[in-house]
């Protein structure tokens, strides 16, 4: 029983099906671990242990009655950006420290319908703004591999909880790399699907045209299991798209069945020199190149492609995302919900102090940047120009994909750094340098573990796919994981038994 949390999602499903353990036992195992160990890493903001126990019991009864849903009774947890009916949803902010949503996000109800059990709400950078979870009102999260290191952001709580063995899988959201970068820092696989694949209804908006929910787990197949119930058209989200529905797990199984010695025969992997340039840590580069070598050994062809200069992409992102954020966060004004300052003297005082006191510095910085970019007189110079560059980025990807099937790069330029390094914002923003172009282009991408630094910190490789090709990304990462064991390494906390 002590090793339950080291099992894959598939092993958990099989175990439940074969009555090796019940959902109640499984759930209890995770709750026990969270209770004993989360104080070390601070990955949860809200625990829902009691409802989880009740749900697990109900799941066991349903399974006994013949309910065949594969994910029935499998635990998970949500990033605190997703609205959960009757449960606190804070988005990592003091602004929403008291906000109990009256409704469920679409993905929350979908995962619920699949029979999964939610153990709680996971810590995150405030309103998903940040790259190391240091902007959360609920405190930073420690990396389960090394408690002095950051877990990455903004889905840092999700990554840490999975890496610590508190949940097998967790939801995340990715606006500029917020699933992939923490997955990379915590030795996980995480996928950001195509924009429009997963409903954004009920996901508190940061930058609407870039935000996309996705899944995180210890393997590509774990990610596939959780992503499956998340996808699909949602009539409540006008940007969610009706598109053919893949079966990710089935696709993986089919590909594995068909694979020979050289499973990647015919696969062309694009490598861009722009993503192996200055600022890239040498250990990260070595691990990424070694992984590419492995892909080649397994039959893939490496081709050179060109994509937009990451520095231009970074500037574009940090113009557009704050612009949208400044507008999206206007509703947090102290009038109807969330934090309200004490004894406002008048309306302007209510707005000013509620927002000054309720938002942290990183959120305020981005609101101000975005407000400036949208202001009369600056709009064309900043916002309009950034939109034009965004179209060029899309075009560059289109051209790159003419000669390859997937594009590979390091996920982040470094492994997890120390929080005390206290980066200035501009340097921290550089951590997103390889991930953000994907959001600007609306493409799917995943990060998979491809090794450890000499200090024992995980390193991630990013795979970028064409629109709607999540299945190919998951399958590619999965087949790689059949021939390697990077994803089977466990963090310090995961190895602890309670």
């Amino acid at each position: 029983m002590s090793e339950l949390h080291l099992l894959s999602t598939e092993q958990l499903i099989t175990g439940l099906q074969n009555k090796q353990f019940s959902s109640a036992e499984l759930t209890e195992h995770y709750i026990k671990r969270i209770d004993a160990l989360d104080s070390k890493i601070n990955s949860f903001i809200t625990h829902t242990s009691e409802t989880a126990r009740a749900q697990a019991k109900a799941a066991d009864e349903l399974r006994a009655q013949g309910d065949q849903r594969p994910l029935l009774g499998v635990p998970m947890a949500h990033k605190d950006i997703f609205c959960t009916q009757g449960v606190l949803t804070t988005c990592g902010s003091k602004m929403l420290h008291n906000f109990v949503s009256p409704y469920d996000a679409t993905i929350v109800s979908n995962i619920d319908k699949a029979g999964m059990i939610s153990l709680g709400k996971l810590n995150m950078d405030e309103f998903a703004m940040g790259s190391d979870n240091s902007s959360s009102y609920y405190g930073t999260v420690q990396n389960p591999w090394n408690l002095e290191r950051v877990p990455g952001g903004s889905s840092g709580g999700s990554a840490a909880a999975v890496a610590a063995g508190f949940v097998p899988v967790a939801t995340g959201s990715d606006t500029g790399g917020s699933i992939r970068q923490p997955a990379s820092f915590c030795g996980l696989t995480g996928i950001k699907p195509t924009y429009g694949r997963v409903s954004r209804f009920g996901m508190i908006a940061y930058a609407s045209s870039l935000d996309q929910a996705g899944s995180m787990g210890r393997s590509a197949k774990d990610c596939a299991y959780l992503l499956q119930p998340m996808i699909g058209h949602d009539p409540r989200d006008a940007t969610s798209i009706k598109y053919e529905m893949p079966d990710y797990v089935q696709d993986i199984n089919d590909a594995q069945a068909a694979a020979g010695d050289k499973p990647f025969e015919g696969l062309r992997i694009g490598v861009a020199k722009e993503y192996f340039g200055t600022g890239l840590d040498s250990e990260v580069e070595q691990a990424a190149r070694a992984a590419l070598k492995k892909y080649e050994e397994l039959g893939a062809t490496i081709v050179e492609v060109n994509i937009t200069d990451p520095e231009i992409t970074l500037a574009t992102y940090y113009m557009l995302a704050p612009a949208e954020a400044s507008s999206n966060l206007s509703r947090f004004d102290g009038v109807r919900f969330g934090y309200r300052c004490e004894n406002p003297t008048d309306l302007i005082d209510l707005y000013t102090r509620s927002r000054s006191e309720g938002f942290g510095p990183e959120v305020q910085r981005r609101i101000l940047t975005g407000t400036y970019a949208l202001s009369a007189g600056y709009f064309d110079a900043y916002y309009t120009k950034a939109q034009k560059i965004r179209r060029l980025i899309v075009k560059d990807f289109d051209e790159a994909f003419a000669s390859c099937d997937v594009i590979a790069s390091p996920t982040a330029p470094t492994a997890a750094y120390k929080l005390s390094e206290d980066l200035d914002p501009a340097t921290m923003y550089l951590g997103d340098v390889y991930t953000i172009a994907v959001n600007l282009a609306g493409l799917p991408a995943l990060s998979q573990p491809v090794g450890l630094t000499t200090e024992g910190l995980p390193i991630g490789l990013q795979l970028i796919g064409k629109h709607w090709q999540e299945s190919q990304l998951l399958t590619t990462a999965h087949l790689f994981q059949q021939h390697t064991d990077h994803h089977l390494q466990h963090s310090t906390i995961a190895k602890e038994t309670v």
Binding site: F99, S326, S327, S330, R331, R336, F337, S375
Partner: protein, 508 residues
């Protein structure tokens, strides 16, 4: 006169009407109209748009702007806006997009209003109006429309519900609006009023809005400036939220006077938003340009562009009702109605439809008679009861049933008035034959039997020798007296023409 046949350019040409000048100043007015579209649910949510409910009972989580919610466009508003665009002969925005207008206000739940800035659904168009309609100095004029765009309404602040507090009612938040922006083509309060009334008639005619001013579903902002003829445009002020035809005219005139007074005193008009106070009949500055917001418009990333196919436009065009101007022209030309009658009978689409339903029953040759009954008796009675024609107690078929009895001489004009009153009181039931029932039940049939009338006439002659003598002595008036006696004897049922004829014959 029929504006449909007037040369467009001649109408558009603004003859400088010196009689419009006020103290030697030319007035320039442009108008923005916020018109609520009559969809059942809101523009971006499924909450109902009903008016007059408990505060915040008609607002969904989307209207409340809760974290995480997203807007989804109600397709019904697109159809309605396209109808309007076709109705004002406009270029249609077949690719139109939504933008966010950002500002803070307690009744604006999201901190931004979703509107159409860059690519509106309706582009440049025009509407032909008649200024001072029905009066001696009436004249036609073409008013330019710059654009019309879709947007959501905000909620409202409630200042008097709780002492010392301001409440927010978001029932109205998310109500679909079309904002109609005119060219600065109006040169007087009368012209402004004519334009506003024409737009009001059009939107109700098209059935896209209830346009009830008192409920705020049709609101006007007027931009007013004055200048010496030939000078550049003067500084304008904006009169906000005018919500009755009467106040619009008064408010504009007060504002014109205010501006001229300032200029005559050597001062400068300051660009400002003005409020009109009907109690004191004056305009007051609400805020000046200095506190104007920077709205930071940008495309709303939550809503995809709306692409409208030509076949959709074609289908809407094919289903468009005949518009007031065209219908009026047809009433005059095909039905031979006078200009005055045609105008009254196209006062609203419901009146015109009712009238045409009657005509369809009794035939075009009797359109004039149908028109007289609809305009005179029916609208008069409805007006007295403050009832809309749509709620008329007499259906078009019932009225036609009565008119048929006039035509076949069953009813005289006098008897018909009695039948009409009974119909109005619903005494004939709900059937199309209500008039016949009333005639039968009340014995109101006109006497047309020559023998019977002759007998009555003979009796009257015998009983009124004096009068007969007078007539024979050359007093024509006495004849009318005798007719009256016969009618009285028949209790009004005798056919007056027959009475006349027979009386003349018998009196030689």
């Amino acid at each position: 006169m029929s504006t449909a046949t007037t040369d467009n350019n001649a109408v558009r040409e603004h003859a400088v009407r010196k009689e419009l000048f006020v103290d030697g100043y030319e007035v320039v007015i442009g108008i923005e109209i916020h018109c609520q579209l009559n969809t059942e649910s809101k523009i971006f949510s499924s909450a109902p748009t009903d008016f007059g409910h408990e505060p915040n009972s008609q607002a969904s989580i989307v209207d409340l702007g809760l974290p995480g919610v997203l807007p989804v466009l109600n397709a019904g508003v697109v159809d309605r806006a396209l109808k309007f665009g076709i109705g004002v002969n406009a270029e249609l925005g077949l690719f139109n997009t939504f933008d966010r207008k950002n500002y803070f206000y307690p009744d604006l739940p999201k901190g931004y209003q979703i509107t159409q800035m860059a690519n509106p659904i309706v582009g440049v168009g025009y509407i032909d109006v008649v200024v001072n309609e029905g009066e001696k100095n009436e004249y036609p004029k073409r008013m330019g429309i710059t654009r019309a765009h879709l947007e959501e309404d905000a909620g409202k602040s409630v200042h008097d519900a709780v002492d010392g507090m301001t409440g927010v009612d978001l029932n109205r938040a998310g109500t679909p609006l079309i904002e109609i922006v005119s060219e600065p083509d109006m040169r007087s309060a009368h012209e402004a009023l004519a334009y506003i009334k024409a737009i009001h008639q059009l939107v109700t005619w098209l059935g896209i809005s209830d346009a009830v001013m008192a409920e705020g579903s049709f609101r006007c902002d007027c931009n007013v400036s004055v200048r010496k003829p030939g000078a550049d445009l003067g500084t304008r002020t904006e009169l906000k939220n005018l919500n009755s035809f009467r106040f619009i005219e008064r408010a504009i005139n007060r504002e014109i006077e205010r501006q001229i007074d300032i200029l005559e005193d050597g001062g400068k008009v300051v660009q400002a938003t003005m409020l009109y106070d009907p109690e004191r009949d004056e305009t007051r500055v609400m805020r000046t340009k200095e506190d104007a917001n920077d709205y930071r418009y940008f495309p709303d990333p939550d809503l995809l562009p709306v692409r409208i196919e030509q076949h959709t436009v074609d289908a809407i065009k094919a289903a468009m009702p005949e518009l007031p101007v065209a219908r009026r022209a047809r009433f005059e030309e095909a039905l031979g109605l006078s200009e005055y009658d045609a105008r009254i009978l196209t006062g609203s689409r419901q009146i015109a439809d009712y009238f045409e339903d009657v005509v369809a029953e009794i035939g075009q040759q009797d359109a004039k008679m149908a028109g007289n009954w609809v305009m005179g008796d029916l609208l008069g009675a409805l007006n007295k009861d403050d009832t809309d024609i749509i709620d008329s107690p007499i259906s078009a078929k019932q009225l036609a049933g009565m008119l048929k009895r006039i035509k076949d001489d069953t009813l005289s004009g006098k008897l018909a008035k009695k039948v009409f009153s009974a119909l109005y009181e619903r005494e004939g039931g709900d059937g199309d034959d209500a008039a016949d029932k009333i005639i039968k039940d009340k014995g109101l049939k006109q006497e047309t039997d020559t023998g019977a009338i002759k007998a009555m006439v003979e009796e009257v002659i015998a009983k009124n020798e004096a009068m007969v003598e007078e007539y024979r002595g050359g007093k024509e008036k006495a004849f009318n007296g005798l007719v009256g006696q016969v009618m009285k004897a028949s209790r009004g049922s005798a056919n007056p023409q027959q009475v006349n004829q027979i009386l003349k014959e018998l009196l030689g």
